[in-house]
């Protein structure tokens, strides 16, 4: 049974055709908190972040890191890998 609704092309069998995302941000028990004084904007956290939810700003006038809270799972890899220990994990809902 074709489950695809694509009109112009005949698809045999089930076919994934809608790009979706799970709201993995709702899993978060702890969230990363960055110290802008310590952060050297090296991008190590962004490289290792499993959900790629960290954006590093190279512009010194801006805050160094922005997190996409819709998808951050709160795993803490960014804080663990930070060479300057500029990221600490704080309980979600606290502080």
């Amino acid at each position: 049974m074709p489950t695809s609704t694509h009109a112009t092309r005949k698809v045999l069998g089930p076919c994934s055709h809608i790009l979706v995302a799970a709201n993995t941000g709702s899993w978060r028990l702890e969230r990363p908190d960055v110290d802008p004084e310590l952060c050297i904007r090296c991008g190590t956290c962004a490289m290792y972040c499993p959900t790629a939810c960290i954006t590093v700003s190279k512009d010194k006038s801006e805050f160094p890191l922005t997190f996409d809270w819709n998808y951050c799972k709160g795993c803490g890899i960014c804080g663990n890998e930070c060479p300057k220990k500029a990221i600490r994990m704080i309980p979600e809902g606290g502080e």
Partner: protein, 292 residues
């Protein structure tokens, strides 16, 4: 073709239900980033199956198929030969399979594809057990590691996929680790530019099955490289090279004690694991001299 409900990050959906601290997302994102849009994915069941979609919902922006555990390399061979007959020599056919689908169940189809030197890229992410079904031991599980099928610790050493690949004389085989992403990207780029059967075996520690805090994934993987429990190797056109030498060869103690799966392991078992690690490294080092 594809309806975008969310903005993808690279070629991968931003929210994927892999466990907290799992790095498979990173493997997919970096591999697809290097391979580009002109790629067909083959993903067997396993943790990675979440990337092949569920019903009408997709998680990657490239075309792909979910096969069975035993035939991912055979499916990829079929696609590669189909493209060959259409005169398409630019599309990369990439399999991303777990260790169960590679070293256990899928080994025969991979062996066949390697023998025929099919034009495919096979990436095995190795979390050293069947994590998706509840931590059953695989032939990639190391000595003394506890799983639900080896509760007292695995009595035998793991299978060496890299040497199996070398024995098939394929043009390119490599091992990588999620603790060294630039090295992994370099190896995928190299594999992309080579024609023939290419295999990349990448270690991906599993916080759920190995029993450590989710924040420690990269640290555990790095510790494995430092102790030599995981070697970064490269086999290209009959030449073997060691990408990075372990800094503390055989000192598996710190690596092992980070994980709950080795909690019940006796000192003798850890010593045996350490001896195996040293032995394997010495063997590989001798091979590099012979094959230089």
């Amino acid at each position: 073709m594809l309806t975008y409900k969310v903005e993808p990050k690279g070629a991968v959906s931003p929210g994927i239900s892999t466990c907290q601290g799992c790095m498979i997302d990173v493997i997919f994102r970096n591999a697809l980033d290097v391979l580009g849009e002109d790629t067909v994915l083959v993903v067997p069941p396993g943790c990675a199956a979440q990337f092949s979609g569920c019903g009408p919902e997709a998680s990657v922006t490239v075309a792909g198929i979910q096969g069975n555990l035993e035939n991912s390399a055979a499916i990829a061979s079929g696609i590669a030969n189909g493209y060959k007959h259409q005169g398409n020599d630019h599309t990369t056919i990439c399999v991303i399979a777990g260790d169960g689908g590679t070293v256990d169940i899928g080994l025969q189809s991979l062996s066949g594809a390697m023998e025929r030197n099919e034009n495919i890229l096979y990436i095995c992410y190795d979390n050293e057990a069947y994590m998706n079904t509840g931590v059953q031991g695989s032939s990639s599980t190391p000595l003394a590691a506890s799983t639900t099928t080896t509760p007292a610790g695995k009595p035998v050493n793991s299978k060496d996929l890299f040497r199996i690949c070398m024995a098939h004389n394929i043009p390119y085989a490599a091992t990588a680790s999620i603790a060294n992403i630039p090295d992994f990207r370099r190896k995928v780029q190299k594999a992309k530019d080579i024609r023939g059967c290419r295999v990349i075996h990448i270690m991906s520690p599993c916080p759920t099955g190995w029993g450590y805090k989710s924040a420690k994934t990269v640290e555990v993987a790095r510790e494995a490289i430092n102790s030599g429990a995981w070697l970064l190797l490269e086999y290209e056109n009959g030449r073997l090279t060691i990408s990075k030498k372990p800094t503390a060869l055989g000192q598996v103690e710190s690596y092992v004690r980070m994980q709950k799966r080795f909690k019940g392991a006796s000192d003798e078992a850890i010593a045996a694991l350490s001896a195996h690690v040293c032995e394997r490294y010495t063997y590989m080092e001798k091979l590099t001299q012979i094959m230089a």
